[in-house]
Amino acid sequence: MIAFAIKRFVQALGVMLVVALISFMMFRFVGDPVNQLVGVDTSPAERAALRETLGLNDPVMLQFGRFVLKAAQFDFGISYQFKQPVAALIASRLPATLELSFVSALFALAIGVPMGVYTGLYRNTWLARGFLAVSLIGVSLPTFLIGILLIFVVSVNLGWLPSFGRGQTVNLGGVWSTGLLTKSGLQSLILPSITLGLFQMTLIMRLVRGEMLEVLRTDYIKFARARGLSRRAINFGHALKNTLVPVITITGLQLGSIIAFAIITETVFQWPGMGLLFLQAVQNVDIPIMAAYLLLIAFLFVVINFIVDLLYVAVDPRIRLDGGTAG
């Protein structure tokens, strides 16, 4: 187990290093960092001095080493467009994105699992077929279109829920502004969470359905029926419990892509999170923010993958440790 963990850890470190190299190359070679920092009237001598103080004349490997060291201390330099430290900008946007992502994941689980169980148990009913048809549409529709349609129906025509922003937020300890404690904050959260979570919901529903169909065929379910256990005990106590391992894994892995897909949802709903910041950075070629965002997302993905891998082995001893390479 420990050998496996160490092996996975080294792999994760390798991935991070590759991503760091990509961000470094973006930072260093796409456009000239000096040009972005100074005005038009800066003299060549001043530019050269700045170049020297930034260390841009050093060997590239040395610069890369410095970049990694700084990144490890959350120092990603100054944003070109906001003229503020990138780390502070991201930290101020992080709570909005994380709250949105977690509520979406919860929504996807809370609706997706029961729908999956239902379609698995009663797969020939009209309702189950309806669920499946809806899930196909959910997979085919682009996220931003779902958001626009929701805004059109719920906000514009019915006027039930707000369509942009976070509503009123409460500042917790000066570092975390939360929208979960006020009425308008919670209301603002509903439509973006549905938009962001819909795809994952259909994914979870199909997964649970498939697993349920598989499990219901097994001998121990037949035996449980023969023992005369109630349907409820069989369906939930025996069948559902055994489908949950893959569901937890997939949800964990999907958490990373939820955070990445938040870029689109945040744009539709003008949600002031990291995704919106990243998109502005792409539009305005603000390389430090792009590089930092890339590293942060990569870090999240790697950490989640690492934890899921370890959980997998801990939960299911059938997975052989020596065969645990990716692919």
Partner: protein, 322 residues
């Protein structure tokens, strides 16, 4: 359509494209049989064909030319669809903020969406097939390097990679010339973010094929590795590639629309469906819903039909998955 049990009973796409018997072979194949028996596949193929034709002949069938400043009038702006109060019979689906006919902008927008979609699918397919063939055929460190890159790329969502490549390309091209190269930037960023699936699939099939006798025979008569790869191995691994390509066409169209919606795709001067939705989105709150909803519905139907077609193709080519 009667099913003729000819010699060709294997469900396989005729790849050689032989001139004489190609059509006859197609009609005899399992694939055609399954196609004619699946109403969903028929309907979605019909819809896709209709959309492609409409996009191809947009200049001929569009009631107005939305990009000719002489023919549009600002007095016609914000007209609702023809069947609503205040609608104008000349503009079936209404007009946008500049007085352009929504139906015509949709037809022209679909041209760009489909062009970017097809081009990026072809690009990612060529890239993926080549890298997959090379990785599978040569093996060794070439294989390891290519597959590790694929592994790393697979951990990130495609849209994120497309956005990053887009941002880098934007920085390299500079703001002035960006509009001129936007088509290629989009194809490049979407294509590069979708090659992995082809690469992995082709590599897997090549590993199986490389040990077969015909490859050995080809090697014995002294053919070079590239000839063997592309002329002998490739035709035998093309079935799954076709399935991925169809499903990826829907994904590519959606990705282009998403990028354009986010404001990093096609500029408003030559709008695609995504750009149209982005423009119309600003007017959603003031009641001019038709400017964004109609392009949105068009995009949804297009993506859904291509997806359904891909699903059917996957089931038809691989009965085991059914």
């Amino acid at each position: 359509m009667p099913y003729v049990t000819g010699e060709e009973t294997k469900a396989r796409i005729p790849v050689s494209g032989g001139a004489v018997g190609a059509l006859g072979r197609m009609r005899d194949s399992d694939l055609w049989y399954s196609f004619t028996r699946s109403p969903l596949a028929l309907v979605s193929a019909l819809v896709v064909a209709l959309f492609v034709l409409a996009a191809l002949f947009a200049p001929l069938i569009a009631p107005h030319d939305p990009f000719d400043p002489g023919s549009i009038s600002i007095l016609d702006s914000f007209l609702p669809p023809a069947w609503q109060d205040g609608g104008d019979a000349r503009f079936l689906l209404g007009t946008d903020d500049q007085g352009r006919d929504v139906l015509s902008t949709i037809l022209f927008g679909m041209r760009i969406s489909l062009a970017v979609g097809f081009a990026s699918v072809v690009f990612s397919m060529l890239l993926g097939i080549t890298l997959g063939l090379v990785a599978g055929y040569f093996g060794g460190w070439v294989d390891s390097v290519i597959m590790r890159i694929a592994d790393v790329q697979l951990t990130f969502p495609a849209i994120l990679i497309a956005l990053l490549i887009n941002g880098v390309a934007r920085a390299m091209a500079g703001p002035q010339s960006y509009d001129k190269v936007v088509f290629f930037v989009l194809v490049l960023s979407i294509g590069l973010s979708f090659w992995v699936q082809y690469g992995r699939t082709v590599r897997g099939s090549v590993l199986v094929e490389a040990n077969k006798e015909y490859v050995l025979a080809a090697r014995l008569i002294g053919l070079g590795p590239w000839t063997i790869m592309f002329k002998h191995v490739l035709p035998n691994v093309l079935g799954p590639v076709l399935v991925i390509a169809t499903i990826n066409l829907a994904l590519a169209i959606i990705t282009e629309a998403t990028l354009s919606f986010l404001g990093v795709g096609v500029p408003p001067t030559q709008p695609s469906l995504g750009t149209l939705i982005r423009i119309g989105n600003d007017f959603l709150f003031s009641g001019e819903w038709w400017i964004t909803i109609f392009p949105g519905i068009t995009l949804a139907i297009l993506a859904l039909s291509v997806n359904l077609l891909g699903d059917w193709l996957r089931d038809a080519l691989n009965p085991k998955l059914r």
